[in-house]
């Protein structure tokens, strides 16, 4: 049972374009949604996170859009750069219950120069 789903599995965009990475979840008790990125041969690191009190979180070129009703969120990367090429993981957890941080299977983003 996959509680956090990501699409597409891989995405290629040209430098300067906007990359859109999608994430959906099943558990309505999830109330914290971080995105981690992982560069080749490195460990994951936190990129940006959102809590459902807001439906949008922005940090520079990275923006999370959150739709609580549809249990969906997306990460938009504007003006994509080759240095953004990485695997992006959406994750979710609930402040009540088991406290586990559940990761999606990731989207591998390639930004072509």
């Amino acid at each position: 049972q996959q509680q956090v789903r990501q699409s597409p599995q891989s995405l290629t965009v040209w430098e300067g374009e906007t990359a859109i990475l999608n994430c959906s979840y099943e558990d309505s008790t999830f109330d914290y949604f971080p995105w981690y990125w992982q560069f080749p041969r490195e460990s994951p690191a936190l990129l940006i996170a959102i809590r459902p009190v807001s439906n949008k979180k922005e940090d520079g070129r990275f923006t999370i859009f959150f739709n609580k009703r549809e249990k969906k969120l997306s990460l938009h990367i504007t003006d994509s750069q080759p240095g953004d090429s990485a695997t992006y993981f959406c994750a979710a957890s609930a402040s009540s219950g088991s406290w586990q941080l559940i990761f999606g299977s990731g989207t591998q983003l390639t930004v072509m120069p």
Partner: protein
């Protein structure tokens, strides 16, 4: 700043062998985690420890044991290595739950 040190970096085992992976953090974080990363499957939680004397099973705990020896260290044991198993085991820590996870560099396991 701080660092999470995982040892060993590479681990080659035999089928059926008991293998132990170690993790040390100097962030003074309360919560520590063990995740397994397989290609194309994201990160799956094996065990976590909210505080020093706590141990919780994740969704992938079968076949593993864990031990939180002290606040700064958290070890994982593969109780019986499976033939052709290949994965990266990532240790992480955070101040409290739902805070930023900081990951170690990982231990790459190969079972012959």
């Amino acid at each position: 700043g701080g660092i999470i040190t995982q040892t060993p970096k590479f681990l080659i085992g035999q089928e059926g062998q008991k293998l132990t992976l170690k993790c040390q953090q100097n962030f003074n974080h309360d919560t520590m985690y063990w995740y397994r990363q397989d290609s194309g499957k994201g990160l799956r939680l094996i065990y976590y420890s909210i505080t020093e004397n706590d141990l919780q099973k994740g969704d992938l705990s079968e076949g593993y044991d864990a031990s939180r020896e002290k606040k700064s260290s958290f070890s994982l044991t593969v109780t019986s290595a499976q033939k052709n198993e290949m994965a990266v085991f990532l240790c992480a820590s955070s101040i409290v739950f739902q805070n930023t996870l900081y990951f170690g560099a990982g231990t790459r396991l190969s079972v012959l």
